[in-house]
Symmetry: none
Subunit: 206 residues, 4 copies
DNA sequence: GATGAATGAGCGTTCATTCAT
DNA sequence: AATGAATGAACGCTCATTCAT
C-alpha cells in the first residue's frame, strides 16, 4: 500500500528532531534548549525523542557531528577547486569558513561556541576529527611556503591563529556586536585580507 | 542612631551582592549562578536581592556594566602608561584585553558571548558604552598613522577586525579548543604579533 | 493579633509533611511515595516540601529518626517500670516491641524493612543509635543471667536472635501472611513465650 | 517448516523471560526490574513480553509462583532425605529455608516481603498454595510429637511462630541490620537452635 | 509470533519570583 | 531593610503500556 514517497519516512522523525533542535538552539540559546521544547515544536511527546537519541547529550553530539561534516565538505570542495594556487585557496577557505558560520549559526554555536564544561563528554576522538578541518588550511600554508609566498614558522600555531581570527569575525557578527555603521561585507573583506597579510613573506625576510 | 560609619551601609549590600555574584560566576560558571546561591553565599535571603535588583537580568546587566568598566580601566591604564608609543601601546592593549578575558572567563562570557536576543533588554546605551572600549584601540591606530607607522584605511573597520582577532583568540582558548600541543603563550604572542602586522604600513604602500 | 493557638504554626507544615509521608508510605509503599504525592495530599506544592527537607532522603531519615526515638522511649519506659524482674521485663519488652510495630506500621517499615540499597546513606551513626534499642534487651538478659534465670552464652548474638524472632513476628503480621484462622493474640503470645523459652537456663545446664 | 527441534519453542520465550527477569531481579534488585530491561536482556522487544504476560504484575506473579515452587522443592527434598528423624529434619528444614532466602534475596522479597495491598491481585489461591510450604514443617512437628520429642500444642500456631523466627532471621540479614561484629554463621546457628529449643518437650512437661 | 512507534504519567529537583509581614 | 513562606514552571529522564502492522 505504501508508495515510494514513504520510503524515507523511517528516519524522518530523527531528521526533524535534529533540524528542530538546531533551530531552537540558535533562536533561544543552549540554556533554553530542552527535550520538551524540541518535542513540542515537532508535535511529538518528549519521550519520542528518546527513541532516536539516547540522551540530550547524544542529540547534541549528533548535531555537532553533522556540522563538522558539512563544514569539512565545504572546505574540501573549496580547496579542491584551487589545486595549484595556495594563496587564492587560503583566501577562499577563509571565505568558506566565515560563510559557513554566518549561514549556519545554529551549527556554528554548538560546534565552536559551547564551552566543554557545559556540554559534557563530546568524544575526544570526534574533537580530533573536527580539528582536521584545520588541516586543509595547514596544507595551503605549507604549499604556499614551498612556493615562497608564505612564511610559516610553526604551521600549527599559525593555522590556529588564522582560525582564531576567523572565529572572532564570525562570533562578533553572529552576536551582533559589530558596529552597525560598518558595512558587513567590507568588514569581512578586511578581516580576511588582514588574516592573509599576516602569513605573507615580508620583504625583509626575503 | 546612625554614625558616620553607617554612611556606606546604604549601598553596602548591593555591593556585596555584585561581588558575590561575580565570584560565583567566575568560580562556578554562568549555569550555576542562581539567586538562591548568591543569597546563601552572603547570608541573606534570596528575597533581599530583589530590594536592589529588579530581576536576575538586571543583576546580570549590572555585572556586565562592571565588567565593562573594569576592562575599560585596564585598557585606559595600559594606554596611559605608553603615551608616546602607539605601536607598543597597541601591543600592550591587545595583551591587556586577552589577559582580561583569560582571567575572567565567565565575566568575558556575559560581556561578549551572550547573544543579545537571549539576554534581553540589556540597555542599548550600555552596549554603546561597551563599544567605547574600542576607542582606545582606535586612538592608538590613529596616532600611529600620524607617526607613519600604521596604515589605517577605515579606523572603525580596522579596529573592529583587531577586536575580532582578539576575541577569537580569547574565545578559542576559553573554549579549550586550541590544540593541546600548542604552547599557550606562544599562541598568544603570535596572535598579537599577527594582529599588529596587519596594521603596519607595508613598504609597498610607503 | 495572633493568639496563643498560632504559636506552633511555624513547624506545623513540617509536621504535616512527616505525618503524611508516614501514612502514604504504609498505604502505598516505598515505591509509591513521591514528593508530589505527599504535597498533593497536604494541598501544597511539591516545592514547599523542600523548604523543610533538603531531599527525599532527608525526609525519610527524619522519619526513621522519629520512629527510633519513639520506640526507644517505649522500651525505656517499659524497662524502667520493672527494675528488679529481668524475666518479666524481657517479656514486657518483647510485647512493647511487637505492639510498636503493629501500631506504627509506617514507622516500622522504614525503620526495619527497607533495604539499605533502596534508601541510601542513612547516617551510620544513626543506625548505631538505633541499635541502642537492643541494649535494653541485652541488659535484661545480663541481669537475668546474674540472677541465674537466663543462660546467656554470647549476649550480642542472643539479643539479635531475639530481635529476629520479634521482627519476624511483626513482619508476618503486618504483611498479612499469617494464616487467617490463627488467633492473632494467641500467635503473639506463643511467639513471645517461645522467645523467652530460648533464653532460659535449661535444667541440664543447671 | 518446523522440525522436531521446534517443539519446545512454543513456551520457550516465556521461559527466557522468566529466567531473565529472575536473574535481573536477583542481580539488580526489584527497583531495577523493568519490562524494557528484561526485553533488552533477551534481545526481544518490550512489546513481546506482553504476548506472554498480561502485565508486569502478572509477570511478577509468575515469578513468585516459581519461587514458591523452588522453595517447596528444596524443602521437600530436605524432608525426604530424613524420613525417620523429625528433629534433625526440622533443623535441616530451617537451614534450607534460611539458605533459600539468603541466596535468592530478591526472590525472597517478592515472595515474602511485598505487602499484598501493594502487589495487588496476586491470586489468593496461590497464596494458599504458598502457605503449603509450611506443611512440611508441620509434619515434622507432628511426627516429633508422636515420637515424644516435640511438644506441640497447636501445630498451626507453632509452625507459624517457627516461620516467623526464620523469616525474621532472613529479613534482618538481608536488610544488613545485624550487628557487623556478629559472625553470620554463628547467628544463624543460634537462631535455628533457639527455634528448635522452643519446640522441644520440656522436662517439666514430661 | 513479533515489532517499531509512540505516549501520558510520573520521578526528584532547581529555578526566579511574589507577597504578606 | 529584610524575610519566611510559598509557588508554577521547567528540567532530563524512565516507566508500563498501547496499537497498527
Amino acid at each position: 500500500m505504501s508508495t515510494s514517497a514513504d520510503t524515507s519516512e523511517n528516519g524522518d522523525l530523527r531528521r526533524r528532531i535534529l533540524d528542530t533542535a538546531r533551530h531552537l538552539l540558535v533562536k533561544k540559546g543552549y540554556q533554553n534548549l530542552s527535550m520538551r521544547k524540541i518535542a513540542d515544536a515537532i508535535g511529538y511527546s518528549a519521550t519520542s525523542i528518546y527513541l532516536y537519541f539516547d540522551s540530550k547529550d547524544a542529540l547534541l553530539h549528533a548535531l555537532i557531528h553533522e556540522g563538522m561534516m558539512q563544514l569539512q565538505d565545504g572546505l574540501s570542495e573549496t580547496a579542491a577547486d584551487r589545486p595549484d594556487a595556495p594563496v587564492e585557496r587560503l583566501q577562499a577557505l577563509c571565505r568558506t569558513f566565515i560563510d559557513f558560520g554566518l549561514e549556519n549559526p545554529e551549527y556554528y554555536e554548538i560546534m565552536f561556541q559551547l564551552r566543554p564544561e557545559r556540554m559534557e563528554r563530546y568524544p575526544p576522538e570526534k574533537y580530533r576529527q573536527a580539528r582536521n578541518n584545520l588541516d586543509v588550511f595547514s596544507r595551503a600554508l605549507e604549499e604556499g611556503e614551498e612556493q615562497g609566498v608564505f612564511e610559516v614558522d610553526d604551521p600549527r600555531v599559525l593555522t590556529s591563529t588564522i582560525w582564531a581570527s576567523l572565529h572572532g569575525t564570525v562570533s562578533l557578527l553572529l552576536a551582533g556586536r559589530v558596529d552597525a555603521r560598518i558595512d558587513r561585507e567590507a568588514f569581512i573583506d578586511v578581516a580576511i585580507q588582514r588574516t592573509l597579510q599576516g602569513c605573507q613573506r615580508t620583504p625583509s625576510s626575503a
